[in-house]
């Protein structure tokens, strides 16, 4: 029980546990893909759907339209529609894009979701105030990313 509590607390703080790859340790290949799962745990597509659609989580829908999310109002147009992503992209590619899209698409407008430093004028979330710590918590946790990747893989034409 005690051990579990500690693990949960460490996950919340965005730190590495035995299986979790820390943001600074993610290995991108030359095309920006990430071969190894960030958690060693399979992604949960249902949870990933929630991360994708929820404003306080990934908020991916603010930039991407997805036909399979017809129940979610207001899909953005800043990024490409992702309704066929599961047909076109592998888990490794998607993991790399969601962790840090700039490794796949140079200079991409898509935020880097698994990164903690290297920002210009970082703030404390949406408060507009200075951050409390040097390193910021990543926008998404390792498991959030695995879950979103699992969700993206379900986005297929048929």
């Amino acid at each position: 029980m005690r051990l579990l509590t500690i693990t949960a607390a460490m996950l919340v703080a965005g730190m590495a546990t035995a299986e979790t790859v820390a943001p600074a340790d993610v290995q991108f290949d030359e095309d920006g893909a990430v071969a190894v799962s960030l958690t060693g745990q399979p992604g949960d597509a249902a949870r990933g759907r929630d991360v994708f659609a929820t404003k306080s989580k990934g908020n991916c829908v603010s930039c991407h339209a997805v036909a399979q999310l017809a129940d979610v109002p207001f899909h953005g147009e800043v990024g490409p529609e992702l309704s066929w992503t599961g047909d076109n992209r592998s888990a490794e590619e998607l993991r790399g894009i969601v962790a840090d899209a700039k490794m796949t698409f140079e200079g991409s407008m898509m935020p880097s979701f698994y990164k903690t430093k290297g920002y210009i004028r970082p703030g404390d979330a949406y408060t507009g105030k200075a951050p409390k710590t040097d390193e910021l918590p990543p926008l998404l946790s390792a498991q959030d990313i695995e879950d979103v990747v699992a969700f993206l893989l379900t986005l297929q034409e048929s």
Partner: protein, 271 residues
């Protein structure tokens, strides 16, 4: 495949005529200094719904006019140790304030600085009236700016960017293109690369400021330029700057220059 998910983007083709008489320039060739970054500058009005747009077409419907009327009362009221009102020195603003808004922010030779309209007003309050400075972008300051701006309505924005203002302008330009905050987004990412696109439910405009101060339906009051900048910077998960700060003055100068050629619309109406 299925019904379109995203709403149709782009600027609309409506024309803006205020009070059935004043034709406004809401789209025009971009000023030379934009150098191909965008070909055309477009008022934020073109990206709003028909209902919101119509509120700006008639002064009786424009909720911003209430604040203009309030500022007119203040204009005529003596304040401070000198017992003077704005009107004592500037008479009728419909004569003396014509064209002011179109050229601000502006280099002030005597003070050796770039000044916004609100800074100029506060200079008169403090140094000529012996009154307290108004808080930046707060109630009276922004209402007075709207009243002064109204007397330039329909005139083309023509902010000078050369000479002694050039250094501030360069600083503002650099800010405009710097990707700030944890989302690493610049003004240009949203307002240059993506105007016309929806970002969630928001239809992105070019982020022009020819309509400021603007009455926003969202908070039911007049909003100053720096307050809007603050909101946009905060939305990149960055540490913002303060209204009235040198950073925001520089950014205002630069963004105002991007509006050069568009009609002054203040007070405009947005959601």
């Amino acid at each position: 495949l299925s019904a379109p998910l995203a709403m149709a983007g782009g600027a609309d083709d409506d024309t803006m005529v205020i009070n059935d008489e004043t034709e406004m320039v809401t789209k025009t060739a971009a000023p030379a200094h934009l150098d191909g970054a965008v070909d055309e500058v477009i008022s934020g009005w073109h990206f709003r719904s028909d209902e919101t747009q119509s509120l700006q077409l008639d002064d009786f419907d424009n909720p911003g006019m209430i604040f203009v009327d309030q500022a007119m009362d203040v204009w005529n009221t003596a304040e401070g140790s000198e017992g003077k009102a704005c009107a004592d020195c500037h008479n009728d603003p419909a004569e003396t304030m014509v064209g002011v808004k179109a050229t601000y922010p502006k280099w002030n030779e005597e003070a050796g600085e770039v000044r916004t309209v609100q800074m100029q007003v506060n200079d008169c309050r403090v140094n000529r009236m012996g009154a307290e400075a108004w808080k930046y972008d707060a109630g009276k300051a922004v209402s007075m700016e709207a009243m002064i701006s109204l007397h330039s309505r329909g005139m083309p924005m023509s902010v000078a960017i050369d000479g002694p203002a050039a250094a501030m302008w360069e600083k503002g330009k650099e800010m405009y293109y710097t990707r700030t905050g944890q989302l690493e987004l610049s003004c240009a990412n949203c307002h240059e690369d993506n105007y016309g696109n929806y970002i969630r439910a928001d239809h992105l405009s070019q982020g022009q400021i020819n309509g400021f101060p603007v009455y926003r339906l969202k908070n039911a009051k007049l909003n100053g330029v720096h307050s809007r900048f603050k909101g946009c910077v905060r939305d990149t998960r960055a540490e913002t700057y303060s209204p009235g700060s040198e950073d925001f003055i520089a950014l205002e100068l630069y963004v105002a220059s991007r509006s050069n050629g568009l009609s002054v619309e203040s007070p405009s109406v947005r959601n």
